[in-house]
C-alpha cells in the first residue's frame, strides 16, 4: 500500500514557486478589516481572499458511532489511522455503511491487499451500489461482481445502531432487526461544507454552501470561494447542487486564480464526472443518471451498448459497456455511464462529457468519428457512442 509521503506533494514545491505557506488553523475572518486570524494568534491581512475550506464527513445520528473502531475517511491521516487499527488489532470483520465510491474503493483495496483475510459487509440505504453514478441495471452488474468477490452486499437496508463491547465496536443492527458482527465500521454517507469562516465574513450561504457567481465571487467584495464549500450549479438542470468532487475543486481553484489575474472566464457548472476502480472493474459516469433525470422531470431515451477495448483478434481484448441517456424532448445527450474490464475505455466518459457540454443531439452523435487502432480501441463498427445514438434514433421512431 502506498505511503502517505509517496502520494504527497512536497511543501518545497510551493516555496520554490515563491508562495508563502502557513501551517495553522484559520480561526476567524474579518471582512471589514480584511484580515484572517490564525490559531497561533497571528493575523494576516488580505487584499483578496479565496476560501477553499472544503467539507467534512457527515456522521449519521446513529447510536454508537462514537465507539472505538468506527471511522470515516477524508484525509491521509484518516487512512493511516484506519490501516494502523486494522494491522494492530488484526481485525477481519469489516462493515461499511454507504456504498459510494469511497467505501467501495477502501473495501476492494483492503481485500486485494490481503485476499481471503477480510469478511466485508457493505450496507446501503438506497437500492443499489454507486447510486450517484449508476442506474440500477448497470449497478447490479457491480453488485453481483462484488458478491462473486466475497462481499456481502446489503442494499436497501438501514443501520439503526452500532453496538459495542468494552467501548469497542462489535457490530451493527439493521432496521430489520438483523445484527451483523463488526470489528471495524467505516462510515461514508457524504460530507458537509466547512462554513465557519464564511459565516464570520457574512457571505451569503445557500442550501448547498457558499453562494458564488459564475466567476466564483461571493456576496462580500474581495472574497472568492471555490471547491467543496461552494454551492454549484448543475450544467444540465441549472439547479443548485453540492458538486463535491476533486475535479471541480481543482478547476475552480485555478479559475479563481485566472479571475484575479483579470481573465473573464465563467464556470460552466458541474456534471459529477467521476471514475472508480473496484478490483478489475473500472467504472465512470457523467451528467444525469436516468433515475435522477426522471426526478428532474426529463422524459428520457436510453441505450446501452457492449463494446471491447481492442479489435476482436487482438490478445488481451476486454469487454466494456456504455449507457447513454438522452432528453427525449431536445434529443440532447444528458448523461453517460461506463463499466469496463480494462482501465482505458473509462476515459471515453470524457468524450461523453464534451458531447453534453456541446449540447450534441442523437442525430449528431450518429456521425461521431473516433480515433481507432487495433491495439487501442474497438473496431470503428463497434464504437459505442455512435451505436448508442443509432439505437436511440430507432427508439425515437418506435
Amino acid at each position: 500500500m502506498a505511503t502517505v509521503d509517496s502520494i504527497t506533494n512536497p511543501d518545497q514545491m510551493f516555496a520554490d514557486a515563491g508562495i508563502n505557506l502557513v501551517i495553522a488553523r484559520a480561526t476567524h475572518a474579518d471582512a471589514e478589516e480584511k484580515k484572517i486570524t490564525l490559531s497561533d494568534g497571528r493575523e494576516l491581512p488580505y487584499d483578496k481572499l479565496l476560501l477553499g475550506t472544503g467539507a467534512s464527513p457527515v456522521v449519521p445520528p446513529i447510536e454508537g458511532c462514537d465507539l472505538e473502531g468506527v471511522f470515516s475517511l477524508r484525509s491521509a491521516p484518516d487512512a493511516v489511522e484506519i490501516n494502523n487499527f486494522l494491522e494492530k488489532e488484526n481485525r477481519r470483520k469489516l462493515v461499511l455503511i454507504g456504498a459510494g465510491f469511497i467505501n467501495l474503493e477502501v473495501a476492494t483495496l483492503l481485500a486485494s491487499t490481503k485476499p481471503d483475510h477480510y469478511d466485508v459487509t457493505v450496507i446501503e440505504l438506497l437500492s443499489h451500489p454507486l447510486p450517484l453514478m449508476l442506474d440500477a441495471e448497470m449497478a447490479v452488474q457491480i453488485q453481483e461482481y462484488l458478491v462473486e468477490k466475497g462481499f456481502k452486499m446489503k442494499m436497501g437496508q438501514k443501520v439503526v445502531k452500532v453496538f459495542g463491547q468494552n467501548g469497542k465496536v462489535a457490530g451493527v443492527e439493521l432496521a430489520t432487526g438483523e445484527k451483523i458482527d463488526a470489528e471495524m465500521v467505516l462510515v461514508s454517507i457524504g460530507v458537509k461544507q466547512n462554513l465557519e469562516l464564511a459565516k464570520d465574513l457574512g457571505v451569503e450561504i445557500g442550501k448547498f454552501g457558499v453562494k458564488v457567481n459564475k466567476f466564483l465571487e461571493t456576496s462580500v467584495p474581495d472574497v472568492m470561494a471555490a471547491g467543496d464549500c461552494v454551492e454549484k450549479q448543475h450544467f444540465v438542470t441549472k439547479r443548485p447542487v453540492t458538486g463535491q468532487l476533486r475535479g471541480p475543486a481543482v478547476i475552480q481553484g485555478r479559475l479563481a486564480a485566472k479571475r484575479l489575474a483579470g481573465y473573464d472566464i465563467e464556470f460552466p457548472g458541474v456534471m459529477n464526472n467521476s471514475a472508480v476502480k473496484l478490483f478489475d472493474k473500472s467504472i465512470a459516469s457523467v451528467g444525469l443518471t436516468e433515475e435522477l433525470a426522471h426526478q428532474e422531470g426529463f422524459e428520457t431515451i436510453s441505450t446501452t451498448v457492449n463494446s471491447r477495448s481492442k479489435h476482436g483478434m487482438i490478445p488481451g481484448v476486454k469487454p466494456w459497456t456504455l449507457k447513454l441517456i438522452f432528453d427525449k424532448e431536445s434529443q440532447k445527450v444528458i448523461g453517460g455511464q461506463i463499466i469496463s474490464d480494462s482501465e482505458a475505455p473509462v476515459k471515453e466518459i470524457d468524450t461523453v462529457n464534451a458531447l453534453i457540454l456541446g449540447g450534441k443531439t442523437i442525430a449528431e452523435l450518429t456521425t461521431l468519428m473516433c480515433a481507432g487502432n487495433p491495439d487501442c480501441s474497438s473496431e470503428p463498427s463497434l464504437e459505442p457512442v455512435t451505436i448508442c445514438a443509432e439505437q436511440a434514433l430507432q427508439k425515437l421512431r418506435a
Binding site: T8, S219, K238, G297
Partner: protein, 72 residues
C-alpha cells in the same frame, strides 16, 4: 403525485439561472497586493500555483491546517 410528475412540473417552470448574480468588476491584482488562500485541498494548492505564475508580483499566502498537501 410521483417524483417524476413533480419533476416534470418543476421542469416546466421558466428556465431560471440559479447561480448567484453578484455583480463585480473584473479584479486585477496589483504589485504588492496580498492574496490569501484558506485551505489546501483541491482548491488551495492549484489556485496558489497558478496565481503566482500569472501574477508573480502579487504576494500569495496559503493557510493550511493539515500536515501535508495531497491533491495533485
Amino acid at each position: 403525485m410521483s417524483a417524476g410528475t413533480i419533476g416534470k412540473l418543476l421542469k416546466d417552470l421558466p428556465d431560471e439561472d440559479h447561480s448567484a448574480n453578484f455583480q463585480r468588476e473584473v479584479p486585477i491584482m496589483k504589485k504588492g497586493d496580498h492574496l490569501v488562500i484558506v485551505g489546501m485541498g483541491g482548491v488551495g494548492g492549484p489556485a496558489a500555483m497558478l496565481a503566482k505564475r500569472l501574477m508573480p508580483e502579487v504576494d500569495v499566502t496559503v493557510i493550511r491546517e493539515e500536515e501535508r498537501f495531497i491533491v495533485r
